[in-house]
């Protein structure tokens, strides 16, 4: 089990886990931030710019249109991006580990 701590392709090493969790968390947080900014700004806009948000757009008020209709596709885009990226991230981890295993084995055989 004891391995070189700098070797981030050994899946049991501390650095592999650390790196993996950091990459995953970074992706999740970026996506969450995109979502939260919109979600938390809307009440603020309602609070500070009520006239603007009450502008009529095809019968809707602007804020009603955003919240009642446009918010859903916005979230779909975020979740689609997240899923694509996170699947890609997993695949790249798997490839890295497998490549390292192969190199390790061929290295041993060559010795």
């Amino acid at each position: 089990m004891k391995t070189d701590p700098a070797n981030s392709t050994d899946i049991h090493s501390e650095s592999f886990l650390h790196l993996l969790m950091r990459r995953q968390l970074k992706l999740s947080i970026v996506c969450a931030a995109t979502f939260i900014v919109a979600l938390f700004c809307l009440p603020l806009l309602n609070f500070y710019a009520p006239e603007l948000m009450a502008t009529r757009v095809g019968g809707f008020t602007l804020t009603w249109l955003i919240l009642g209709v446009l918010f859903f596709p916005y979230v779909w885009v975020i979740s689609y991006t997240f899923i694509k990226r996170s699947i890609a991230l997993e695949d790249s981890e798997v490839r890295k580990v497998e490549a390292a295993k192969k190199n390790g084995r061929s290295g041993e055989a060559g010795r």
């Binding site: 979600l39 019968g59 804020t63 009642g68 899923i83």
Partner: protein, 606 residues
């Protein structure tokens, strides 16, 4: 059944007032649901089939089933009712119900699935190697689910008293409760995956078709909204129709009763829902708005975080074959429910313009039934069309509360039979014993749910679901989020945080609901009369009232901080194999770590 017979005997005109179309559509839905349950019961033989559907459900089926289970009476009836009664502010509910899934997807769904366990108590036990923690987690499963069943039961009571005018509210609750309990006791979860998926499509059909027909006849979503905020004088109405559509078609609107909120309040943010507490204390307009902003944020936090902590939804993620399909399932769930949630507010808006008399009703006769009754006005234009569409929405409502109540019942029964009985009371019981217990637990819990449901006629369906979300947000969400992403969490930290947040949220929420039930002079007010003095306290302290009604704003951070502080204090108790646990939670499944983890555990004599 006797009660139903008595109710019919006591009101000879009752059956005559029943619309045959509505009755037949609803009956067909109920009968098909039950038949599917029995059919599936025959196919599920083993105990693990019973608990999580054999773990092999495809993405399409599973996402429709999750959506079907998630879209409860609150989504189907409550959202429209609340948009009608409170206007813009109620829109936060459908949006956050749908978007809360994003949080689940981003932070929790993948890791939890990789860890692999049947239920949240399983996860709690596995992550902290503690059977004690399992007991605490089970307690919260039951608590959150009971809060969530109450609005479903109200939905049942409202629908049945709409179909059979004059039928007492509680009879409807008892009847539907009995039918579903029987179905769950006989069918288990395999049946429910199929039935839930099927019911999602019923619900989507039942809400969208009436909306499209009503819009075609009475004017589109935008036009219906456009008449709100325009003074109700004939001259203004003509001006409006020319400015909005430019055509001769004019949106027809009935006069609002006294009790209805005025247009400007209804249409704009910070309306009746979020300003209620501040208005009751006669605060200045500026203070009222600030408090309403606070209320809005607390509501958002509760709904978004609460979705990620709902036990009956999380258990579904274990029915995916792997982590990638768990993510794909979440994506599809978000699309399916997002599409659904556009429709109920449309009915709420139309209800305000076309069926304003509902503002005068209370309890089961109030705005919560707008979805059921609104399509019926089409009878004026085309004979029978209104009744048929109203029958369809009633069928959808049945699908809504039946599917969610079944899902909750399975979660609660699973917790009782699988965890309390199978693991705590009698660890040596055979699979057959547990199956038999499953049935008895279902009956016990169904009975309690009916009792609770009979008490809450006065509370809005949607509001009650929001409360259940707030409790989930303050207990399970911090537990899951922190356990997955922070390796420094200890058992004591997790338990302390979850209990602090969860218990305080339950107390705060119960106090506000009890005082609402205590107001007035009906029978229920007498039962809760102990809480009457609270009303005066709330008036004196509107901020406290808001923070108790919507506790997520303080309860979620409090739970997380408690977790961090207690974990730091007890940091020597961090599980020894935490590294391996985190690896199983986060490493891609293709690396096969789960297998290694299990072998290590078995080797260590677990």
């Amino acid at each position: 059944m006797n009660a139903l017979a008595e109710a019919f005997a006591g009101h000879p005109g009752l059956l005559a007032a029943v619309d045959p179309w509505i009755l037949s559509f609803s009956s067909v839905t109920v009968i098909v649901t039950i038949l599917m349950g029995f059919w599936a019961a025959k196919k599920s033989k083993t105990a693990s089939d019973f608990f999580v559907a054999g773990r092999g459900v495809s993405v399409g089926w599973n996402s429709a089933a999750i959506s079907g289970e998630y879209l409860s009476a609150a989504s189907f009836m409550g959202v429209a009712g609340m948009v009608m009664s409170s206007g813009y502010d109620a829109l936060w509910y459908p949006v956050c119900y749908a978007c809360g899934y994003l949080f689940l997807l981003l932070f929790i769904a993948g890791p939890l699935r990789r860890f692999g366990a049947y239920t949240i108590p399983d996860f709690a036990e596995g992550r902290y190697d503690s059977p004690v923690f399992r007991k605490i987690a089970v307690l919260f499963v039951l608590c959150i689910c009971f809060f969530y069943t109450m609005p479903q039961m109200k939905g049942a009571g409202v629908t049945l008293s709409y179909i059979f005018p004059g039928l007492p509210y509680w009879v409807g609750v008892a009847l539907v409760g009995a039918i579903i309990t029987l179905n769950v006791a006989l069918g288990g979860m395999k049946g429910i995956t199929l039935v839930q998926a099927f019911q999602f499509w019923i619900k989507l059909f039942a809400i969208s078709v009436p909306v499209f027909v009503l819009m075609a006849v009475y004017g589109s979503y935008g036009k219906q909204l456009a008449v709100n905020g325009i003074p109700q004088t004939p001259g203004a109405a003509i001006e409006l129709s020319s400015s909005v559509s430019g055509a001769a078609s004019e949106v027809h609107r009935l006069a609002l009763p006294e009790k209805a909120p005025k247009d400007d309040l209804w249409m704009a943010p910070f309306g009746p829902l979020t300003t209620k507490a501040a208005k009751a204390s006669h605060l200045s307009a500026e203070d009222t708005r600030s408090y309403a902003l606070l209320y809005t944020y607390s509501l958002i936090i509760a709904l978004v975080c609460g979705t990620a902590g709902l036990p009956h939804i999380l258990v579904r993620f274990y029915t995916n074959p792997d982590g990638v399909s768990a993510k794909k399932t979440t994506m599809w769930v978000m699309i399916l429910i997002g599409v659904f949630y556009v429709f109920p507010p449309v009915l709420g808006v139309m209800g305000r313009n076309l069926l304003p008399e509902l503002y005068n009703g209370v309890g089961s006769k109030g705005t919560d039934k707008v979805v059921l009754e609104l399509p019926r006005i089409l009878n004026e234009k085309v004979p029978y069309l209104g009744s048929i569409l109203s029958g369809i929405t009633c069928a959808g409502a049945f699908a809504a509360f039946m599917s969610t109540f079944s899902g909750l019942l399975v979660s609660m029964t699973g917790a009782l039979a699988h965890d309390v009985y199978g693991r705590i009371l009698r660890p040596n019981s055979t699979a057959q014993d547990r199956m038999r217990m499953f049935k008895w637990c279902a009956i016990l819990i169904g009975g309690v749910a009916v009792l609770l449901g009979s008490c809450v006629e006065k509370l809005e369906i949607n509001f009650m679901v929001g409360q259940a979300f707030a409790i989930a947000a303050s207990s399970y969400f911090p537990l899951l989020f922190m356990s997955v992403w922070w390796r420094g969490m200890t058992l004591k930290g997790a338990a302390a945080g979850m209990l602090t947040g969860g218990v305080l949220a339950v107390v705060a929420i119960s106090l506000t609901s009890f005082s609402t039930l205590a107001a007035g002079n009906d029978g229920m007010a007498k039962v809760f009369s102990v809480f009457k003095p609270l009303g005066a306290f709330w008036t004196a302290h509107p901020l406290v009232r808001i923070l108790c009604e919507q506790p997520a704003l303080w309860a979620v951070p409090l739970a997380i901080i408690t977790m961090i502080v207690v974990s730091k204090l007890t940091s020597k108790d961090i599980p020894k194999d935490i590294h391996m646990k985190m690896l199983v939670l986060h490493a891609p499944e293709k690396l096969g770590l789960k297998q290694e983890y299990i072998q290590e555990h078995e080797g260590a004599g677990h």
